[in-house]
Amino acid sequence: MTLTAREIAEITRLLEESSFDELHLEIDGLKLHLRRGSTTPPRPVDDSAAAGVPAQVTPIVPDDARQTDEPIVRDCDLQDVPAPMLGTFYRAPKPGEPPFIEVGAPVEADTIIGIIEVMKLMNTVRAGVRGIVAEIPGRDGALVEYGETLLRVRRPSEP
């Protein structure tokens, strides 16, 4: 589980607008602690975003492009494709090349969806399910944990 700088900014804004002084968020092993007007730095957050977090909660201009922040409506036809191992996830065979798959692409169980690198060892990851790619939560070049969702696939509806 990771948060982007933008997601943290959004959470910070929610705290700003609320009547609370402190916010503790815990999702899947990731912990975010925000305190209003605090002089001590907040507890550490995920590394990929840590650099972007201000030590104090400061007003942040809401980002206009917030379409990705819309709550995700759980679709019962969506199936998560979990990372089979911990490592660095790559969506393309080589840097600069087009990704293995994009949203909207059809996948079969053996379709390659990415690569997970563990200490220079490249492991091919396959979809494992048949359907249409609905979402790709797995970010290119990011650390993915064992079991973290890389892909959401819409299963073909029963005839």
Partner: protein
């Protein structure tokens, strides 16, 4: 190298213990946890938890590359391996060195030097520390002639083993060849090293070990000894310091020997040198453990030194912050290991869900645990639930505090060895102090005879 973020490659009470010191030092913690341990106490306490794989240790806690990848991915500066798992695997230390990650422990070369028990024996001999009569055996002829020389009883030990694993006791020479073959195949499977050696078995001996800290540049200090003679099948159950009834002069020689051995390796970090002391008060080198040990709190409460903090300081390049004269040992400390094992069923592991956990409190009582009501005790890992440590100015008071502590401890949902501890703490020989490593076996034998007698009567 400044350490700001530490990845903890372990679980259970020791992960919890390491996180506590990291927090006190203002260091961020990342826990590498298996899927089974995602909701464990250390996972809740760590600043971040990364799932490294499925429950089976071979698929998670024992994967060197995955651990290092997790540390790099989480941008940790250092890895603390705890004890067990990868703590004494030179591959992890070496891979850390290659990726500019600080390994909180000795160098890969030092781990290798003590992991090979024959090399460790030779190193001890080279600094005039006695070892038990023994030698490597690589053929049937060699085995027979070495065994004749040593005499029985003797132990068949794995060169790559240690901590009581891969040992077979031989009473008669007729059992020798079969035991060697079995030990070699087991050692090959468990340690990837099928070499075995023979060593005299001392029937009545005490297991005394010395805690050391080294700066990696040749300076070593000791933090006194621990008596770990209360063992069942080579697994320690109760440890204490100082070793009761051991002559001061002998203690002093053990401390000096341990320091000499670690100096010879230019040892870096925290380590333990283990000795066997026989009935004639002669001592022999057994092995060195190149890691923080389960029983380290005994030394911590006696000396007031946070061994994990010293490990981190040494790893960060701060060197050894203490001189030998800074080490003052105060009072007596005893530790009981509370395991999810059923003493009524031959100490069989008892995994499950803990429904109630009440741990003792009070003056001089410390509890290192990761278990609370609702905690799971998975079948995949060791069964240690908690370590209860009692400290007091004198041994009598420490024993009384421990008796009260054990009596006020309540764990439900899984079977525990608490009744065993209560029994030992009522045993005159243990209360008198100075029992040997046969104590538990004899106690259990006597009690099982008593139970049988009661059934017959």
């Amino acid at each position: 190298m400044t350490i700001r973020r530490v990845l903890i490659a372990n679980r259970g009470e020791i992960a919890t213990r390491i996180i506590r010191t990291c927090r006190a030092l203002g260091l961020e913690t990342v826990l590498a946890a298996s899927e089974e341990d995602r909701d464990s106490t250390p996972a809740r306490l760590a600043d971040r938890t990364i799932c490294i794989g499925p429950a089976r240790p071979a698929d998670s806690y024992l994967k060197v590359e995955t651990i290092v990848q997790a540390a790099l991915g989480a941008r940790a500066d250092a890895i603390h391996p705890g004890y067990g798992f990868l703590s004494e695997r030179p591959e992890l230390a070496r891979l850390c060195e290659r990726h500019e990650l600080v390994f909180i422990g000795p160098t890969a070369a030092q781990i290798e030097a003590v992991a090979d028990k024959l090399r460790a024996r030779a190193a001890a001999e080279s600094v005039a520390i006695p070892v038990l009569p023994g030698a490597a055996v690589d053929s049937v002829d060699a085995a027979i002639s070495v065994a004749r020389l040593i005499g029985t009883p003797l132990l068949v030990k794995a060169v790559g083993g240690g901590g009581g694993r891969g040992m077979k006791r031989i009473e008669r020479l007729t059992e020798l060849l079969a035991a060697i073959a079995l030990a070699a195949s087991e050692a090959g499977a468990a340690f990837g090293d099928a070499r075995v050696y023979l060593e005299r078995f001392v029937t009545r001996g005490r297991h005394i070990e010395v805690q050391v800290l080294g700066d990696g540049a040749g300076r070593v200090i000791h933090l006194g000894e621990r008596d770990c003679s209360v063992q069942r099948r080579y697994q320690k159950l109760i440890e204490e310091s100082p070793a009761p009834g051991l002559p001061e002069q002998l203690c002093h020689r053990l401390h000096e020997a341990a320091v000499r051995f670690a100096e010879r390796l230019s040892y870096r970090g925290a380590g333990t040198v283990e000795f066997l002391v026989d009935e004639q008060q002669a001592f022999y080198f057994l092995e060195m453990n190149a890691r923080i040990q389960v029983e380290h709190p005994v030394t911590e409460v006696i000396t007031g030194v946070d061994l994990v903090a010293e490990q981190i300081a040494i790893a960060a390049g701060d060197g050894l912050r203490l001189n030998q004269s800074d080490i003052r040992r105060r009072g007596c400390a005893i530790e009981c290991r509370v395991n999810a094992e059923d003493p009524a069923r031959d100490f069989r592991p008892s995994p499950g869900v803990v429904t109630e956990a009440r741990w003792p409190t009070g003056p001089g009582i410390r509890v290192d645990t990761h278990i609370a009501a609702g905690s799971r005790v998975p079948p995949y890992y060791d069964s240690l639930l908690a370590k209860i440590i009692a400290h007091a100015p004198d041994r009598t008071t420490a024993l009384r505090r421990m008796q009260d502590a054990i009596a006020s401890t309540a764990v439900s949902g899984v079977a525990t060895n608490l009744p065993f501890h209560a029994a030992v703490l009522g045993e005159p020989a243990f209360l008198a102090g100075g029992v040997d490593t046969e104590f538990v076996a004899l106690l259990l034998e006597r009690d099982s005879l008593r139970v049988e007698g009661a059934t017959l009567g």
